[in-house]
Symmetry: D2
Subunit: 358 residues, 4 copies
């Protein structure tokens, strides 16, 4: 019911606003006996953290996570974790002057329509800052998945029309856009810089790849694994499409080309080809799971835009504040976290998790 | 929790298998006092029903719905509806000979991996027949939405590479592929026929358009309206992508082009342009909501394919049975139903439904 | 959310009205591979069935259950079961003349206040007939528990002030009131007969005992095992109290008497005494779980009572229809079923169920 | 699913351990525009706070609540509240020496059986300290209910066999046991003191009374209002019984006495008598709602008790630490809070809440 909660067994509830005291998550359903430390979470938060390079917002948040509950003597106890991140670099005055108008592409207007009241400081609850809590929760999910031999890798495949041409997973963390192709990454960065100089912003596409997921994970009918992924990824601000496997490309294929024949490989059943993206009938095949998502350009731009005030008066606005001219790289760790949460939830629901601890 | 249940307040649970006694849904959370009759549901079932034309399966199911509970003297009582559809034209012998092998592109293998047992008759629970129950539940949702002035229209926009070029909503129900362009529809039908003759199948794309949704509907964070739609649409067998508004196109736009400026129109706030697809921050703007989905080609094809048996022996298979060479038109009413269920659920959760009855 | 659904993993949704087409349940979350047959369910329904003796209603329902979905070749498939019971002996004319007034002790008035409409035939959805669906679902839960060596026994301990003095479990099914003491049962039956002759009704108390539940079952905090039992038992019409272990008696004990000391017994840890009723901190101790519940006298009595009509006019009423002068024995199998549903749900959630099938 | 979450629309998730950094709750589903301040919550926390008198634990927690999120400019925004209480007076060394044994009447053994690991400091998550978070959440619920004219009053009716004889609501907050009878309260306090001197503890009974609840609140079947109350109250540590209305007394009544006749009073429909406790068929009648609960004596006693260690070695133990010799008064505000949470949830689900704000 609660819109701020995600998951059935591995259950994440986030809270907090962009310019309030902080943001965080309660993570319920974590198996007991799991070795867990703030540093396990911190490394993922670093990837999402703003202020690291010219391509992201100048807001400088240390994003230091505290594990407030649920861990005793270095191990989870099976009780809820509270993960908390204090807001440090809050500068609300940028927002004071535009608090009465509706920024185009933002949730200001729709929050007002729904709630009749909103925290206008930096987007309040609708801010991308909320996703720091998701990344923290996702890091916990990933410690569960690692024990099962499952690894999740998200990366950028396109920004401002520049697509990656090669795939080197070792490259992903070595450029500010998380692209698996260093040369493409350089071009992406320069496209972002140009857009910023023109007071504009750009969009792009990301992919998430899951290796090591055993066959048989997911549920039929409404909670198909792909449906849960679509829900999770589309719940990230900025995402406008979700594709599984060959995605939109399937529309122009014939069945004889689309179908992935079953074969025996290494003594077990697999598929030749993977147009289905590792999921059939909502349940994993054991092959690589592949998801794609399009991310729209940052709505906050310096360029002058038309809009209206709360009272319905037409005005012009140029968004100042501190914004990423491209949020695609920031979505990468968040998408990775959401996929991790979905998989941990499905595995726990299905009782496939080996006993933790020891 | 339960994977066969969808929705929080307007809550649909489906049951039944392709070749069992029947399929159906329990719909809980329907407001009391709503005038409801089997014929209100029947008209939507007719649109999904197989056996109507050369483009769909030859299975002839009357799909006569019974309202077993929850209606008294022609009105809903606020208690759960049981909607039941008997299976009539069951011919399981087509499946008998292939029951030990895994059909490519189907859920046979993954169900076996998950459950260790499966009803191999016509795909059992994984069959598209389950979606008849969704259409029935969606028809109930639509009676709620109609009272609010909300109309949902789904249609085909592409099959086998043939795209619609014009949009005439009156045309949609006048061709077997539910396309809003009669000329395109003819070409689509002929492409489907060619594929069938070659023992093959084709895919395509559909759209769902929602008019009349007030601003402020949906939830923030995890249960964003677009996230719920993505979940709902991706849970339909055959769908491999979900897009909102301009969808994947946003990846190559700049912010200055992507953003939909707020304007005053007819005395109320609206947007000029609708790249966001009627949803900002997960909440409706009051503009038209637009969703797109790609549907893969039918996996059941007469052409010989490679696969393996349950015991892991490589074999060849040609799927006989009675299948649609293109499931795109069959997905149209199901997508419409799922969007209706999501919206009814969100409206009821938000207490925006006017008192029924009278 | 849905008020007609109970359970998280073992998930029961009931539907149907007293004088409609029938009642039933969808049971989702049943492990695959479980051997299941209508006769496994039928034997529990027989115990709840009306019309068996002078102490219960003269309504004669065969209560023949159909398993409409979820079972294939005699085994569950992991997909939802639809269990359906047709209503056969419906005689609504008894209710026609009182349809405009509110029967004291019944839900007529409160349903009208909540829904603004109600099915007045035999209480509609509020009828005890709904509990037949619970018994059917509980029978499925019991087949799961039996494999784990868990047995649940419910019985009557008091009717009309007559208490059992001895406990012989073999006696329970040999008298119409399900009492473990034959002599007391005879007196109870005669008290019920006297009340009936005087146009009146009587109440009583039941107990539910669970043997074989392993230690460690249940959840802390809000979903404590005793809290789930209290919810389940109090949701049965007619129940006005739920006690765990020594129950209300604990209020006058001292801690030194109340506490059950831990001891070693048969090589494992147990407690000496069981005032806590087999549950500490919401989690099972491995000792016998004991619940008690008080059941109010049947509100439908022939004796004249004061009440008001829907329009607020004071009137007198004598309830004719066909009613049990004492519903205590009818609650016994329902309580047993609800306890079984809670335990199956907790065990499945906790992944303690051994693999079914084979 | 998540055992640390309660409620469907008004949704409370608690976290934290007795001797960790603190305890708290995320409250999701609070209507926007509600005026809310830490002091609104603080006054209820004061009632539950230990260290106030000789009858409670000597642990001195200021229990200062912080509203970390969800409130902006003094009003709720419709986004989740994080309510946090730091632990200040933590003295874990009392527990160090008994960390390897299972305290009788406590959850040490069952947590070990369930989780295989536990925070032994002061009971960890199973400590009564968790209930401070419930009281904080309940205070928020009460601000919602107050706007609807609903008031909830909990009080003690019996301790150590001493029952209240008079009812003066003004007296409740003027004695340390929250009894509505000053003379009885004095005797209760002296009984508690005697028990403490003898190294022992005592139990008792509480009641919760709800005035102003409109008719028609609650759900039928599984989520009956009384079933939700039973769940909520039984989830409080120490509670062993829950009764509604005349409760256990109904077992010995006849229907002609038990039934509450409907009458017209003050122009509206009500009942003469209230044996049903303000609830019929799981839905409120509009009369006073009355609940009763028995609370067992504190399991932590100084007197020597037999128990076993984690390794199964029989030992003797005398619990030192700082404990309440009677937890009945501490349960009073917690029960009040839980009843408030249930009612706020039911009202919000039912859309009966008047628009907040203004």
């Amino acid at each position: 019911m609660a819109a701020n909660t995600f998951g059935r067994v591995f259950c994440v509830t986030t809270f907090g606003e962009s310019h309030g005291y902080g943001v965080g998550a309660v993570v319920d359903g974590v198996p007991p006996g799991l070795s867990l430390d703030a540093s396990d979470i911190q490394k993922d938060l670093e990837r999402r953290r703003p202020g690291k390079s010219g391509v992201s917002s100048a807001r400088r948040e240390p994003d230091r996570v505290e594990i407030v509950s649920g861990v005793f003597e270095g191990r989870t106890t099976g009780t809820p974790l509270l993960l908390f991140l204090k807001n440090e670099d809050v500068r609300s005055r940028d927002y004071e002057k535009i608090k009465n108008l509706y920024r185009p592409g933002h949730a200001d207007y729709t929050y007002d329509m729904k709630f009749g009241v909103r925290d206008w400081r930096g987007g309040g609850r609708a801010s991308g800052r909320e996703t720091a809590a998701r990344v923290a929760a996702g890091a916990v999910a990933k410690t569960i998945l690692e024990k099962e031999g499952i690894t999740i890798t998200a990366y950028t495949v396109e920004i401002a029309g520049v697509r990656v041409r090669t795939f080197d997973s070792g490259e992903i963390d070595h450029n500010p856009v998380f692209a698996p192709d260093g040369a493409a990454a350089e071009k992406m960065v320069s496209m972002i810089e140009s857009a910023r100089k023109e007071g504009d912003s750009v969009g792009g596409m990301i992919e998430v790849s899951v290796l090591g997921c055993p066959p048989g994970v997911g549920e039929p009918v409404f909670d198909k694994l792909d449906a849960l992924f679509a829900h999770a990824i589309m719940s990230i601000g900025g995402v406008k499409s979700v594709e599984i496997g060959c995605g939109i490309g399937c529309a122009r294929m014939r069945g004889s080309v689309y179908n992935d024949p079953f074969v025996i490989r290494g003594g077990r059943i697999g598929t030749k080809g993977n147009n289905c993206g590792g999921i059939l009938g909502g349940i994993s095949t054991g092959e690589r799971i592949l998801l794609k998502a399009a991310v729209h350009p940052t709505p906050s731009i310096a360029r002058t835009q038309d809009t209206v005030t709360e009272e319905g008066k037409p005005v012009s606005v140029s968004i100042e504040g501190r914004h990423d001219p491209c949020i695609v790289p920031r979505v990468v760790p968040v998408a990775e976290a959401m996929v991790a949460c979905v998989l941990a939830d499905c595995l726990l629901l299905q009782r496939r998790i080996k006993k933790s601890g020891g």
